[in-house]
């Protein structure tokens, strides 16, 4: 187990209502997991607490000793004075050079690698940002809407590649795409409104690892379960 949260409660200073209260969650096995819920229910706050970027919570947060947790989000930018290649190359460990080539190819970025960040589309920007995180040393990578503005087919390709290439790592994927998280996630932590008890529910996704179409009934059932849980 890399991550465990017990009775986690968090409230922003100068606000009256907590973002979430007595939240429990754990990540027991590596793989692709997801956080799902409506906007503003606390997914990003939760992610930033796990990444150590947000403090002031109560409850217990356990992260396995010496584990590296990274949090990436879709608003991130690369500096503007150089090309994408320059910034990716300069932050890629030598052990990941081969992986870098593969990811650039599969993520569909070969054609824009010599452009500057400001010259990319929104989807390209998000993919570039995700690549540089994937090339870092980490145990758990939180991807906060990291594939926003990327077309559906390419997103599937990317998620499958991540699952294939990093089988022993943990991923927490934040997305509003219900079908996507249902198909590809192992565990889905569903965030609900603060009034609902419990505020979070944990469901199992289909955890598909290939392009094969999942069993239609199973998919529909799981999708409905997730929808109802919200």
């Amino acid at each position: 187990m890399i991550l465990s949260l017990t009775n986690l409660t968090f409230q922003y200073p100068d606000t009256e209502i907590p973002v979430f209260r007595t939240l429990n969650f754990s990540l027991d096995s590596p793989g692709f997991h997801a956080l799902f819920g409506a906007s503003g229910v606390g997914k990003t706050s939760f992610a930033r607490i796990v990444a150590g970027e947000l403090t002031g919570f109560s409850g217990q947060l356990y992260i396995k000793d010496k584990s590296i947790v990274l949090y990436s989000y879709n608003q991130e930018r690369l500096p503007g004075w150089g090309t994408i290649r320059h910034f990716i190359d300069s932050t890629t460990p030598s052990s990941m050079i081969e992986m870098k080539k593969q990811l650039i190819d599969i993520f569909g970025l070969s054609d824009c690698i010599n452009l500057r960040f400001s010259q990319l589309s929104l989807g390209q920007k998000n993919r570039v940002n995700l690549i540089r995180y994937l090339l870092q040393e980490f145990d758990l990578l939180i991807m906060d809407e990291s594939l926003a503005n990327v077309d559906e087919r390419l997103r599937e390709t990317i998620i499958l590649k991540i699952k294939e290439s990093f089988p022993d790592r943990y991923f927490l994927y934040i997305s509003h795409n219900l079908m996507e998280i249902t198909k590809f996630s192992d565990t889905i932590l569903i965030f609900r409104d603060i009034e609902k008890i419990p505020q979070t529910l944990t469901l199992k996704g289909l955890d598909i690892a290939s392009r094969e179409m999942p069993d239609r009934d199973r998919l529909e059932t799981t999708v409905l379960e997730v929808m109802n849980a919200c």
Binding site: A51, E53, L70, Y71, E76, P79, G80, W81, T91, N129
Partner: protein, 250 residues
Amino acid sequence: MLARRVLQFLIVFASGLIFLMILKYSLTLSDYVIPSPLDIWHTGKDILTVYFFDTLNTLSVAIIGQIISVFLAFSVGIGARKSTFAGSFIKAAAYNIQAYPIVAVAPIIFILLGDGFITRLIIAAMICYFPLLLSIIGIMSEPVTDIEHFYNVTSRMRWQLEVKIRAFENMHKLITVISGSTTLAMAGTIVAEFIAADRGIGHSIRIALYQSDLSRILTALFLIGIFISVYQGMLEWAGERIGNRWHVSN
């Protein structure tokens, strides 16, 4: 850009002169109060070369003062960007020193250092340094989270990179701040010359003032305006070139 700036100045200056002439002839004021266009022309023609070099002298001191100020402001601004105590201490000190009118402080500097080049330089630098410093501390202490986040969480952030990111992201602000400080540096040098130096256009203005010669003062104002317009225009042009080279988006 350069030509536009000069043209803008010429229009404003000409409007000012026309206004003065309307005032002169409508109130039938003598040439002693407001000189005639012919008097301004003749005085201007006679004194232009001398005043040109005086203004050049002033501008050269102002530029050196500005360069020193920019370097100092960047050094202190970069140094103070992280430390809450140093940052707030420097800001408080800068606000306080800014509040002193330079005409009150300048005599002390003159007593200590005499009325030569160094004194003019220090006063010019003093006048444009503190506003620059406050702006640069402001820029340098403001994180560009969306860019810096990756380098921070992957422990790749170095102070040079942080400064580069913040400078790049605020390039337009920095160019405007530096360009704006030109006027301050020039004003500082002129004030210094006016108070005590024996060189520069401020010194000449003081003599003209003693001689109640508005034609000379108008000639000096004309040259100061032209020089500042040209210098600021060049700074903006250089800033634009740097921006283009760095691909700073507008």
